[in-house]
Symmetry: D2
Subunit: 145 residues, 4 copies
């Protein structure tokens, strides 16, 4: 995942940092990077994929994620979170995320996130990705990445 | 603090909600409202008041804050955080904050926040508000509120 | 709310601080104090009051809270969160919280929190406090405080 | 990292969940698992390794971490966070973490975390692990894991 640039991602969300994101070393704490991942993915699923987290029976649970930290962030940096999808299975999806900030070509952080879709009305057992969401995921799928 | 409108505030910051802000009742948890307060204030102090939280000797510590919750927020709501100042003392300042969202005239939440300025190089004892910050605070001070 | 001591509270929960609680000034950020309030209250409601946040129709929403910061906390401090109740209405309750740490008689912070009970199956309209919860609340009610 | 048990870890810290950890699906959100990792590691570094995050020139920054989610957690679960070390370099260290809860032999989550040590007084350039910390790290190093 080296030499990543903005053009390698298909969907972007602007995420301003918050005062509380800064930790005792005056950088955004590593934990919050996962909140950024979670937010760009949740934004895509709800705004493009029309997932309704209040009413849909089938929703997505995290099963694995990872982050590499390349460059510190600091309040009040504004993050441009880039998203792409590199694997779409029957019940799961793998996203890759790059976090960029203005003035830098290289990302501040890179990571991936794997969701499994589950049916809340069937004991959270895994379930096929709903058609409306699958269609959205396919829009930012990158076969060769 | 009733019937507050956007026009009662002098400085605004857009704060998008994050996926993680939603709690088990699928609303933004009360705790995060204080992160919104903290963020609009920190933004004002650093961007207008030129407070440098890394290097300045004199910084601001919270001594009291309060929030009234009027209407639930939910990811992906975008908050318009309004700020005004209603008291500027020698070493302390009182901010009032209104959190608005698009399409609603009345705020989702109202609160206040009191900072005391302290000198990190003098055992965190209270210290006069630095001139550059006082000047910024006076810009959004409302004598009659 | 001055000169508060542990003996003024009826229920205690131990809440260890986390690394991430520390903010850029290397103290626990003010926002997290509300997470401590929320946790001791939620613990009391679910463990003593048998509130089931997954299945109960009637649950509690925050309508107002406040905190006064007396003394900084720092990871890895362990907080002893004290709870009492000073008002029980038909649909609402007022809690008061003191946050203590070992070796100090005086609290690090004091605050209050007001819950309104709402019916999730009736558009979140306010609803009488369920009997099982009312009974628990009465156990730590202090008429004269 | 399959079939992990408590006995595979050398140091444990009890981390109670908080009300706010629960997300809109009423499970502890994935992001907070990294706060648990960060906390058990920070506890070890400061309490066993005597790292002083306020005054030491050399401190540790996250460069990579990962988590696999095996079983949901829920407030008020109490986490037993297990820690071991599988690589100690000149300037970096790799930790592995297992998060357990009472009544379950298998972990709720597994992950790793890589720290690089940096010198705050030398532009945050990487620096050899201080002797007091190296000595602590070696106590829970597992050569064959």
């Amino acid at each position: 995942m080296s030499m990543e640039k903005r053009e390698n991602y298909n969907y972007f969300l602007s995420i301003p940092t918050r005062w509380i994101d800064n930790d005792l070393y005056q950088h955004v704490n590593n934990v919050h990077f996962y909140a950024f991942f979670d937010t760009v993915i949740g934004h895509y699923l709800t705004q493009v994929g029309q997932m309704d987290y209040q009413n849909d029976s089938i929703v997505a649970f995290a099963i694995e994620n990872m982050c590499q930290y390349k460059r510190p962030l600091r309040f009040p940096d504004i993050i441009e979170a880039g998203l792409r999808i590199t694997k779409i299975g029957n019940t799961s999806v793998r996203y890759e995320i790059g976090l960029f900030t203005e003035g830098f070509e290289e990302p501040a952080a890179l990571g991936y996130f794997v969701h499994v879709f589950v049916d809340r009305n069937n004991e959270n057992k895994s379930a096929p990705i709903p058609a409306k969401i699958r269609s959205a995921l396919e829009q930012i799928y990158q076969i060769n990445s």
